[in-house]
């Protein structure tokens, strides 16, 4: 029995988590968190796309909120102003956003690194300004209200409880789809591109085509999330999709570990809970704390908080027996470690002699 549990522990944990996820929205369990869990689910969908793009392919996007916004506004305008069926509107939004990403993808993926970051930022800001200025279509800075709920037949997703399952159905589907992509031939090609574009090209991978493909996929994910967002809140305004919105999405991907599909839930969850629950107690200092956390995570765990925690638990699994002796040894080394961190941050050494 014990052997069975040990050998299959991953599946058991997954099953337990799934049951936990299903039970959350019930009032006798964690019902008060249903609303925040819906937002986590929606954010996760965008974040997974960003993980595929940034973590696996190594391409930066600082304009992801624009695709999120395009999905949201396409859905809102079509279903409210033009009485299109919300599901059809969602599909049109995804196709249109994907097509847009495809069209801009080829030119902008001739750029790399910093320049790519700036180009995506520029495109994101242009779309954000359009949301604000095309008042006749989008309602301008005040936004749009009264967007219909999604429904299947006569069944309308009109409560948080129902929408919870809808959002997490989409979220888990996206996660599984992405995991399959990562493990497929395409996923290996993406990692090869991340490793070295020249090497990837020399073994016959069409680098630009793969980059554009994954860019389009991430845009479609973002659009899907945007549609779910407006049909959940029934309201949309440009503020959600500004530069800070894009940065928040990047933060979710970074905290979850860029090259980690399931870390996306962790990243989206940690960031949403942090900014909507914990930091609210700090009042207006929340944005300051946000900046500090962002810097600390990037400086000390550049591979992502989730990945760092994962390797830490892995390390504990193997070393927990020797823990007391390791702690003792580390305590002796502590002054030296502190000193080296100080050296790194201050110029004690740098001023005296040039680095070899």
């Amino acid at each position: 029995m014990l052997k069975f549990i040990v050998s299959k522990w991953k599946y058991l944990v997954a099953a337990a988590l799934l049951i936990f996820l299903i039970l959350i929205p019930f009032d006798w369990f964690l019902g008060q968190y249903t609303s925040i869990m819906i937002f986590i689910g929606i954010s996760t969908i965008v974040t997974v796309g960003l993980c595929l793009l940034m973590g696996y392919t190594g391409q930066v996007s600082l304009g992801q909120a624009a695709f999120y916004g395009l999905g949201a506004y396409f859905s809102a305008v079509l279903s409210k102003s033009y009485d299109v069926n919300p599901w059809l509107a969602m599909l049109i939004a995804a196709v249109a956003t994907g097509l847009f990403a495809f069209i801009i993808g080829y030119p902008i993926f001739r750029l790399r690194g910093n320049y790519l970051a700036m180009a995506t930022l520029g495109i994101g800001l242009i779309i954000y300004i359009l949301f604000r200025q095309l008042i006749g279509i989008t309602g301008g800075p005040d936004g749009m209200a009264g967007i219909p709920y999604l429904s299947i037949g006569g069944f309308e997703f009109d409560t948080n409880f129902k929408r919870y399952f809808l959002v997490w159905f989409f979220c888990l589907s996206v996660l599984f789809l992405s995991q399959n992509i990562v493990r497929s031939r395409t996923g290996r090609a993406l990692r090869a591109i991340h490793g070295s574009e020249v090497a990837a090209e020399s073994i016959g991978i069409n680098v630009t085509r793969f980059k554009v493909k994954i860019f389009v996929l991430s845009a479609v994910y973002a659009s899907l999330a945007g549609s779910l967002f407006v049909h959940h809140l029934r309201f949309v305004s440009p503020q959600t999709f500004d530069f800070l919105g894009s940065v928040k999405l990047v933060v979710m991907a970074v905290i979850g570990g860029l090259a980690s599909i399931w870390g996306a839930i962790f990243g989206a969850g940690a960031t949403t809970i942090l900014s909507d629950e914990l930091l609210l107690n700090l009042g207006e200092w929340d944005i300051v704390a946000y900046g500090i956390i962002l810097m600390l995570v990037m400086i000390f765990t550049p591979e992502g908080l989730f990945v760092a925690l994962k390797s830490a638990t892995h390390w504990l699994q193997h070393n927990w027996r020797d823990l007391p002796s390791i702690v003792k040894r580390k305590r002796k080394e502590l002054p030296a470690i502190v000193k080296s961190i100080l050296k790194r941050s201050l110029l004690t050494r740098g001023w005296r002699k040039a680095e070899p």
């Binding site: 910093n114 933060v251 500090i292 810097m295 680095e355």
Partner: protein
């Protein structure tokens, strides 16, 4: 558009352009020496502008003294940023460094919103508010605009002289051309990076102090200004300070004249879109060269 109107738009364009040029210089210096795009460049400007308001209007210091203190504070923030945020992140990838500088800018902006609130401030004008009329054409220029354009000219000349004739300036240039070779001849690249950050912060702080009475200061002024500065620097190719200044002036003039034409989409509400479109255009035109540069770096 009559010739007089055109002259007026040209004047505003040159004023805005000088602001963009000063911001662009900060980007160029840091990028050339460290290969980092500093998303917090606009925050140096904001610190300069907001502090000069507090010191001159609230604390009642004389204008020259408040200017000096504001610039020194911006320089200190630049040094702190490099030492605590950039220097500690060794072996960080481009993505990490971008996010670190964004994190720093969010942090500074948040602190500024706490200290100064969300209202816009107008520090006292340097020398009166009577606009001067220009010869030959029917257009005017405000004294503060002259200060801004003058500051841009002086800063550009000083920077040029500094890079060309001082030992430290030459070392900075050496780091920009080839960091490894610079290290081989005994140049401390980390000290140079610190100097680059401080220099960029000083230029940012200076421009903030000078422009705040003209365009008003607020805690979030750095966001859009930073982007415009980046456009200026990217027109200049992130290498040459003079090219960056030309890029900034060009952007300012294009923006203002396009708004002045008031034709089709070029209305004032889309002023920022014009700059962004210029940015994308420049990036795409130069993409081939930029890609090979990034590969080499």
């Amino acid at each position: 558009m009559s010739i007089d109107q055109f002259a007026q738009y040209l004047i505003s364009g040159l004023t805005d352009g000088s602001i963009y040029a000063l911001l662009g210089l900060g980007f160029t210096i840091i990028y050339a020496v460290t290969r980092i795009i500093n998303f917090a460049q606009g925050e140096f400007v904001m610190i300069g502008g907001m502090l000069s308001y507090t010191l001159a209007a609230s604390a009642g210091l004389s204008i020259p003294l408040s200017i000096l203190l504001s610039i020194l504070s911006a320089a200190a923030v630049g040094a702190i940023m490099y030492l605590l945020a950039i220097r500690t992140a060794r072996r960080a990838s481009v993505v990490s460094l971008i996010i670190i500088t964004i994190g720093f800018s969010i942090f500074v902006r948040g602190v500024a919103a706490e200290i100064w609130g969300v209202n816009t401030m107008r520090p006292p004008l340097f020398s009166g508010k009577t606009p001067l009329s220009l010869p030959f054409v029917d257009a005017v220029i405000t004294p503060q605009a002259i200060w801004i354009i003058g500051t841009a000219v002086v800063v550009t000349i000083l920077l040029h002289l500094f890079l060309k004739y001082t030992m430290v300036g030459k070392a900075l240039k050496a780091c920009a051309v080839n960091p490894e070779a610079a290290g081989l001849v005994g140049i401390n690249s980390k000290a140079m990076a610190l100097i680059a950050f401080v220099l960029a912060a000083v230029i940012g702080g200076t421009s903030g102090v000078v422009m705040a009475p003209h365009i008003l200061a607020s805690y979030d002024m750095g966001v859009m200004l930073g982007l415009k500065g980046f456009v200026a620097a990217s027109i200049g190719g992130f290498k040459n300070p003079i090219a960056t200044v030309v890029g900034g002036l060009l952007l300012g003039v294009v923006e203002n004249v396009a708004v002045g034409l008031n034709w089709g989409p070029f209305t004032s509400s889309y002023k920022h879109v014009i700059a962004l479109a210029v940015l994308l255009l420049i990036l795409l035109i130069r993409s081939g060269r930029l890609a090979s540069e990034e590969r080499a770096a």
